[in-house]
Amino acid sequence: MKRRDFIKVLCGASVAFPLTVRAQPPAIPTLGYLHAGSADRNSSLVAAFRQGLSETGYVEGRNIAIEYSWAEDQYDRLSALAAYLVRSNVALIAATGTSAVLAARKATSTLPIVFNFASDPVELGLVASLSQPGRNITGITSSSAELAPKQLELLHRLVAPASKFALLVNPTNFTLAEFISRDLHVAARRLEVQLDVMPASSERELNEAFANIAKFRTSGLVIGADSFLDGRIEQIAALTFRQEVPAIYQFREFAAAGGLMSYGTVHTDPYRQSGIYAGKILGGANPGDLPVQQPARFNLVVNLKTARAFGLEVPRALLVRADEVIE
């Protein structure tokens, strides 16, 4: 009697088990990745993002699918791409760059959005406060925009008493460009130097800009944060080196590629952090409860080779201050 019951249970189990297994392949969630640049120029950064994701247990292809939406430097496409991602019913949008974040914000007010940009989210009205974002959006700010005056100051200390400075920005990344140029003009006034703004939103404009920089004998160039420009660090470094323009940029890669100096966070850090946040939200965390993260460390890198090549003497105070000196 009991044995018969046992067999019945066994049979039932063996029938029911495969059914439940077959019925259970969970449609793995899809994450929308919105970026103003192109895939080939940002592969290491996206890798950092995926690294962050995997730290919270999400591995692309295994339990998360990523829908990449690259605007290929055409910022006007971002809104359409964001709308497409929302339509695609992705679980979350990870947006990189101020324009991309704003496009995503415009596309949805319900889907979770993890941002990774250089701006101040409070000032942009994206979050209520850094500690309590409150809504469907949170993320990482590299504070690069905020650092632009400091970059001008550092460059100024190196090239002083020169006083003719220029700012390279991408005007199509309108909001960020506005912020940076506004802050930098204030800083220039404090330092009592001249500041010209050079727009560059395409390769052609970039070359034109550098032609103008040479033409105007610019004594120092601050390169503003922007996805388009970020994707061309080495190219820009080469341009500055070729035209002997002392320049400062936020990422160490710039100085390493022959640029004069860099001051800012590690380029990949915010990508990794945003990956972690995306993973936390996928895991059930409320984006409104995740505080906006800011970098705690800023590194100053000085390329002494470039300085020598330019005939510049690096003051002692800068060398003391520098976290890294490339010789």
């Binding site: 850094l130 500690s131 650092l147 400091k150 404090r190 409860d289 505080p291 993260q293 705690a296 800023f298």
Partner: protein, 784 residues
């Protein structure tokens, strides 16, 4: 049949045993299991209790130590920052150039990543220099901070630890202001990003899922491994442990362990330690689940061990109970079978203890029972065989008796047929005589059968007494002298003065039969009767000079109807029961009988009788002669309602010389007597008379009528023992019909003789002789 019985036993046992088994088995098993299990459980519980206490103590100590260590580390972090600032305040203000100060500030920033900004105040409390990581440096703004606590507190206490604050409401910061060792060295004020304590706090490992965190004096979270919580500007002052810490730290106490909820609402074991100069507290939280996991594991292990122990105890209990109960069951079952008669049952108990001994005793008992039973069965079988043999011999006896009865009947038939024909008086006389002989034979045969029947039935009770043998021997001589003479034999009886102890009448019957036999079978020569004393016994020997008894027939002669073939002599009158009766009487009296015989020379029968002491000698012992002839002229009254019997008997008696008065009732007899004016010498009466009158009444009335004890005896066809007892009670003889003339004559003589002796000796043998009505010497009186 045995197997059926066994099945029945098994079935009843199974029913009974099921109850017994369960009771006894359960009792033993439960007892054993209960004892062992309670000991095990008690031991486990005690051990568990102590290990729980020990573990808890250890846990508390570990937590406290960890909290203290964590506090130490955080303290070191802040202390490290302070010490780095110290380098800036080594130089007196007056000798401290702006460039040098600037470089020192930059060095400090490089040295301590957590410092985000350095402000140098001059000894008067004015801002002299501001170096920042985030914003542009400021030279000599001259901002007056002389009343600011950063300046005043630093001056007052050498060092000032500002309260934690949250920059842009998110990142925790604090201010440390340090005054130089020298009088006018100014004050260095730095802003420290406390987010970097994360490097320290996240490295503090507490168990697997435990962690450390820091709250400030207001209960705000300053450092936590989950940086999000810090950046969210979390206030933990609502937590019980934080409240307790705030209260105790403020009065300088610390280090307490308690169970509380952590910021995530999880139950934790928490300890804290104060970071002295800052008013902060470091908490060490360990989820209770994890904290007690080893304890739970140990409880689980103990439980498993206990369960295993219990299982073992149960098995052992069952095993031991079984070992105890199974032999008892075997005993029980065996006893049940033995009790139901299956004595072949043997138990096999090999426990090597008292139970085995008990089993063996049971087996021995069963063996004994089996033996006795078998013995009993054998005896029953033997007895059955004996009974069957007895039955068979009875049947043979009856067959033989029938055969012997048939002979005279056949002869009678033939004689009657002859009488029906024409016969003259002479022939008729011859036939009548032969008819008489045949009837006599039958009569004798019936009497003998009756006697054997009585002896076999055991109704004859010997009446032992001491008496002189001489008188008996004399009677023998009297009885057989005539017969011996007729046969041409010499009879010699040698008298003896010995006294014996026996039944006088039965002993006489034995001797009568033996002597009569001897006379009958002896052709010539003689018969001698004599006595020898042998060791307290008297051997009464009867010698004859007969043909002797062949060796192979000696044991058969005592059988019924056995006669040694004697072709040369007519066997009429011999029925072959004499020695059978002798044998039975000897056995009854316990008188051994011996036979010695020499073929062709003769035989000797010896009856061995115990000798008694002589008592007295009186007249009775003197034999008197002439009693036989005393009947002539005596008057006999015969009363019988059957006319034929009356006539026959009357005729016979008249023939013997009696005067006979025949009557059919007492009244008639008395009338006849009165008529003739006679006095009767003897009364012979039938028992059953008309009108319910009995022979006893007849005799009584006769005696009453004549006022004297007239000799009398009774005759009856009723052979029931009641009649015999009744007659004995009155002291009368009772003869059973048909009465042979010889027997009648013998009793007549006896009665008349006894009567004449009465004045000398009271004879009390009447009952015995009445009992043995058929025992009689056959020869001299057979022919009237």
């Amino acid at each position: 049949m045995r197997s059926a019985a066994r099945r029945l036993v098994d079935a009843t046992y199974a029913a009974g045993a099921a109850v017994v088994r369960s009771r006894l088995f359960r009792k033993y098993a439960v007892l054993f299991v209960a004892v062992v299990c309670s000991a095990l459980i008690a031991n486990s519980l005690v051990e568990l209790w102590f290990s729980y206490q020990d573990y808890k103590t250890l846990l508390v100590r570990t937590q406290r130590e960890q909290a203290a260590a964590a506090a130490e580390k955080i303290g070191q972090f802040i202390e490290g920052v302070k010490n780095e600032i110290g380098w800036m305040t080594q130089v007196p203000w007056s000798k401290y150039s702006r460039d040098e100060q600037y470089l020192d500030a930059l060095r400090l920033l490089r040295q301590v990543p957590a410092i985000i900004e350095v402000v140098q105040l001059d000894p008067a409390g004015h801002e002299y220099l501001r170096v920042s990581r985030l914003v542009m440096d400021v030279d000599g703004s001259g901002l007056d901070l002389s009343r600011d606590p950063r300046f005043t507190e630093a001056l007052a206490h050498k060092v000032y630890y500002g309260p934690a604050y949250f920059r842009r409401d998110s990142e925790p910061y604090m201010t440390i202001a340090l005054v130089g060792a020298l009088r006018d060295s100014g004050v260095s004020v730095v802003e420290v990003n406390l987010k970097l304590i994360w490097d320290v706090i996240s490295k503090i490992k507490v168990g697997k899922r435990g962690y450390a965190y820091v709250v400030d004096s207001a209960g705000r979270l300053i450092a936590h491994p989950d940086i999000d919580l810090v950046l969210r500007n979390t206030n933990l002052s609502h937590l019980a442990q934080v409240q307790a810490a705030m209260a105790r730290v403020s009065i300088g106490l610390g280090e307490q362990v308690q169970v509380a909820k952590d910021p995530q609402g999880q139950e934790v074991l928490t300890a804290y330690a104060p970071i002295a100069p800052l008013g902060w507290s470091v908490f060490i939280d360990l989820p209770t689940e994890e904290a007690y996991a080893p304890l739970h594991a140990s409880v689980l292990r103990s439980g498993v061990v206990l369960l295993a122990g219990l299982a073992l105890a149960v098995f052992a209990g069952l095993f031991l109970a079984r070992r105890m109960v199974v032999p008892i069951q075997v005993l029980c079952k065996g006893a049940t079978r033995i009790g139901s008669g299956d004595f072949e049952q043997r138990m096999s108990i090999k426990t090597g203890d008292e139970l085995e001994v008990l089993g063996e005793q049971f087996n021995r008992m069963a063996a004994h029972l089996q033996d006795s039973y078998a013995n009993l069965e054998r005896k029953v079988e033997e007895r059955t065989h004996q009974l069957e043999a007895a039955n068979l011999s009875k049947s043979r006896f009856i067959a033989a008796a029938s055969h012997d009865l048939r002979q005279p009947l056949q002869a009678l038939g033939l004689f009657v047929a002859q009488l029906r024909g024409r016969v003259n008086a002479r022939e008729r006389q011859g036939i009548v005589e032969r008819v008489g002989t045949a009837v006599g034979e039958m009569n004798e045969l019936f009497n003998a059968l009756l006697d054997i029947s009585k002896l076999d039935a055991g109704v004859v009770a010997p009446n032992f007494a001491e008496f002189p043998i001489s008188r008996l021997l004399q009677r023998l001589e009297t009885t057989f002298t005539g017969a011996a003479y007729e046969q041409g034999l010499r009879l010699r009886v040698v008298s003896s003065d010995a006294w014996v102890r026996s039944d006088k009448i039965l002993l006489e019957r034995i001797l009568l039969n033996v002597v009569s036999n001897a006379i009958r079978y002896t052709a010539d020569g003689g018969v001698i009767v004599g006595c020898r004393r042998r060791g307290g016994r008297l051997r009464i020997e009867v010698w004859d000079s007969g043909p002797g008894i062949p060796e192979d027939q000696r044991h058969k002669i005592f059988d019924e109807f056995y006669q040694i073939a004697k072709p040369e002599r007519n066997q009429a009158g011999a029925i072959g029961l004499g020695l059978a009766i002798v044998d039975r009487l000897c056995r009854l009296l316990d008188h051994p009988i011996e036979l010695t015989s020499f073929l062709g020379k003769g035989s000797r029968f010896t009856i061995i009788v115990p000798i008694a002491a002589p008592q007295f000698l009186n007249e009775a012992s003197i034999p008197r002669q002439g009693a036989i002839d005393a009947v002539t002229g005596k008057t006999v009254v015969v009363v019988d309602d059957a006319a034929l019997v009356l006539e026959g008997m009357s005729g016979l008696l008249r023939k013997w010389g009696f005067r006979v008065l025949a009557a059919q009732s007492c009244k008639q007899a008395l009338a006849q007597l009165a008529e003739g004016g006679e006095r009767p010498d003897l009364v012979v009466s039938d028992y059953h008379l008309p009108d319910g009158e009995t022979g006893i009444e007849v005799i009584d009335r006769m005696r009453d009528a004549f006022g004297m004890p007239i000799p009398a005896f009774l005759v009856s066809g009723d052979t029931s023992p009641e009649r015999l007892r009744e007659a004995h009670a009155k002291g009368y003889y009772l003869l059973h019909k048909p009465v042979s003339p010889m027997r009648l004559r013998a009793v007549l003589n006896q009665v008349l003789n006894d009567h004449s002796e009465q004045r000398i000796e009271k004879d009390d043998d009447s009952y015995s002789i009445a009992q043995l009505s058929g025992i009689s010497p056959s020869s001299p009186f057979a022919q009237p």
